[in-house]
């Protein structure tokens, strides 16, 4: 579909160059249909890059949810099923239990995962389903035109909170990562953002860990990614990503809330004989 096919190497004035950043193989050639500057695209790319790097493209099965990413299956190049609003993790459970060799991915917005699908989310996590969830928190209902989401922050104006979200009328923004971290079935949960290059790279690291948790049969994993909806926030893309970095992160602090791999390391350190303990503590000091 792209007019200019991707070349792995090119020569300019006798100098060889190699492609160091291109389109991941796990994406189809169809350009994203999201609004200009929307981080749904960024997040799709990161997920596809991780899938490429783990070499699992042909084992992946995606759950498309209902929201702006309802057509995510047009962009990801592996088996996909589109689910009813909020039900992605129930469908994912059925797929994974029947085909345990698949790598199951659900891609959900905040309305989908944290409002209508709250029960499905909590219980799939609590059962420790071997599923990886990409949770795109943009503090709004993007697809339906900018209504309040469960994650809308206090004072934020939406089409259904025209005076700004008032906690006395409609409650507080819901923090899913913190809640899910309490469940023993959860192997990995982190909140990251996509507001600049550094945070985007951190998001990729978290997504990779989340898939690792599934591949190593450790339990449920989720990355909550703070994303922008510049159109419904009525901001320019740059102002919108700045707002994510400056305002949203105050309500939704980025961080790793549950990490079985880190717990493993800690346990190994604690169990290790004192000699290696000393060595490892030396190392951490360096």
């Amino acid at each position: 579909m792209e007019a200019v096919p991707e070349k792995k190497r090119v020569t300019v004035d006798g100098q060889d160059y190699e492609l160091v950043f291109g389109r991941p193989a796990s994406l189809t050639s169809k350009p994203f249909t999201y609004c200009p500057g929307c981080n749904h695209g960024t997040i799709h790319r990161l997920v596809a890059e991780v899938i490429d790097e783990l070499g699992i493209q042909h084992r992946c099965v995606g759950m498309a949810s209902v929201g702006c990413s309802v057509f995510s299956y047009e962009f990801f190049d592996f088996d996909f099923i589109s689910c009813a609003h909020g039900r992605a993790l129930a469908v994912a459970t059925g797929v994974k239990r029947v085909q345990p060799d698949t790598v199951v991915l659900s891609y959900q917005g905040d309305g989908d995962l944290a409002a209508i699908g709250t029960a499905e989310t909590i219980h799939a996590a609590n059962r420790g389903e071997r599923i990886t969830t990409i949770f795109v928190n943009n503090a709004i209902y993007g697809m339906t035109g900018g209504q309040m989401a469960p994650t809308t922050i206090i004072g934020q104006r939406t089409t259904t909170t025209p005076e700004g979200r008032d906690e006395h009328r409609i409650g507080w923004p819901i923090r899913m990562s913190e809640m899910l971290a309490l469940l023993p079935g959860v192997a990995f949960v982190a909140r990251t953002t996509c507001h600049d290059a550094k945070s985007i790279l951190k998001t990729k690291v978290a997504i990779k860990k989340a898939f690792r948790a599934q591949l190593e049969d450790r339990g449920f994993s989720m990355v909550e990614i703070l994303s922008n909806c510049n159109v419904n926030w009525r901001m320019t893309p740059q102002d919108a990503v700045n707002w994510v970095g400056e305002e949203m992160t105050k309500v939704f602090p980025p961080g790793t809330y549950k990490d079985v791999f880190a717990e493993d390391q800690e346990k190994a350190r604690a169990d290790a004989p004192s000699k290696t303990k000393a060595q490892s503590s030396e190392k951490t000091e360096v």
Binding site: V61, A84, A90, V91, G94, R97, V98, Q99, D101, H123
Partner: protein, 367 residues
């Protein structure tokens, strides 16, 4: 289970039918009077290489089924009326996705919480799609423990044959009662291979498989609708099933399904002793409905009236009236609130109908 004839509960027999059909996935949520199904499944499905999940809700259960079916397994859920209402969202998506699955409804009395007594108030819901959008589900109505097993077994076959959800519309009486079941005609089968369309981990070297229900453009949606409608038309031609009892010389034909059809048989025997020429037509598929055969009875000079007995306010009677299309009087004899019929409950109005085939007391008039 080695013996071919086993004495068991209707709900348990349904599970055995499922195992023999190769059911590998069951998800469900407790509700009376179908609890024996998830209980039996949770105990035995593992021995058949399957998986059981007690879901957080019926909504979750049906969506798990959607996933399991999309992944290629023969999958089943069961519930009773309030829970079946919750499953309607998922059934609509499954129908549109053209995924096979089996859903059993051990109907209780509604609306609302109602009570746990047997009832037939979910007939419309089962035969008209039930959820949003224009679709149909193949619906089988058992009236014995034997048929609970047999129809679940058959439902799996039909669901796969047509890639459509198949419902088993039972009621609290059939689910709870105990009878001997003969499994000799239900051999264990290997579920069909669905790797040409299902979601799996073997995507190397093949086109990816996509299952979706969204077609934003009307021009894209219309051909999908057309394909579905054509499928439903083919199902209507191929899958109508019914049985009859003493109907060859009947002057008054009773139409009944589920537990009332059992009472009807007793009523027919007793009625014939007092000279009432009664017979029974029992639809086995209520969608597709046996309109044709009922029309034939209605057109016969011998038949004076048709009596529909249901444990509701009149649902299947509308299908019967449609089949009869004014050729003979249609009467409706109901039971409400979870009360069950005795043969006399049927015979009393039938005697009056024999005296006056247009007896206004029971005459069904479309309003």
């Amino acid at each position: 289970m080695s013996a071919q004839r086993v004495f068991m509960k209707g709900n348990e027999a349904a599970c055995e039918g499922a195992f023999r059909a190769g059911c590998k996935f069951f998800a469900g949520y407790p509700i009376t009077p179908q609890n024996e199904v998830p209980e039996y499944m949770s105990k035995h499905i593992w021995d058949h290489g399957g998986t059981f999940i007690q879901s957080e809700s019926e909504v979750a259960a049906i969506n798990m089924l959607m996933g399991a079916s999309a992944a290629g397994a023969r999958a089943m859920t069961s519930s009773s009326s309030p829970g079946i209402s919750l499953k309607q969202e998922g059934i609509s998506y499954i129908a549109m996705s053209e995924l096979p699955c089996v859903v059993m409804n051990v109907v209780r009395c509604g609306p609302g919480l109602g009570n746990i007594a047997p009832h037939q108030g979910d007939y419309f819901q089962a035969t008209r799609g039930g959820g949003h959008g224009d679709y149909r589900t193949i619906t089988l109505a058992p009236n014995s423990v034997q048929e609970m097993a047999q129809f679940v077994y058959l439902a799996f076959e039909l669901a796969d044959k047509w890639r459509n959800p198949a419902l088993v519309l039972s009621d609290g009486t059939i689910g709870q009662m105990m009878e001997p079941v003969d499994f000799s005609e239900m051999p264990y089968v290997e579920p069909p291979d669905k790797s040409d369309w299902c979601l799996n981990a073997h995507q190397e070297g093949r086109e990816r498989h996509l299952i979706t229900t969204i077609y934003l453009l009307a021009e894209d949606m219309a051909p999908v609708h057309e394909r579905l409608v054509k499928k439903y038309e083919r199902i209507k031609k191929a899958e109508v099933r019914y049985t009859d009892y003493m109907s060859d010389d009947a002057e008054i034909l009773i139409v009944a399904i589920g537990s009332p059809s059992r009472v009807a048989r007793s009523a027919i025997k007793a009625g014939r002793e007092e000279g009432l020429k009664l017979g029974l037509l029992r639809p086995i598929t209520v969608w597709p409905f046996p309109y044709g055969v009922i029309r034939q009875y209605a057109e016969s000079d011998r038949v004076k009236a048709i009596v529909v007995t249901e444990m509701n306010w009149g649902q299947m009677v509308e299908d019967v009236a449609m089949a009869v299309s004014g050729k003979k009087p249609v009467h409706f004899v109901p039971k409400h609130g979870g009360l069950t019929f005795t043969p006399e409950d049927m015979l009393e109005p039938i005697r009056a109908i024999r005296e006056n085939p247009m007896n206004p007391e029971t005459l069904w008039v479309q309003t």
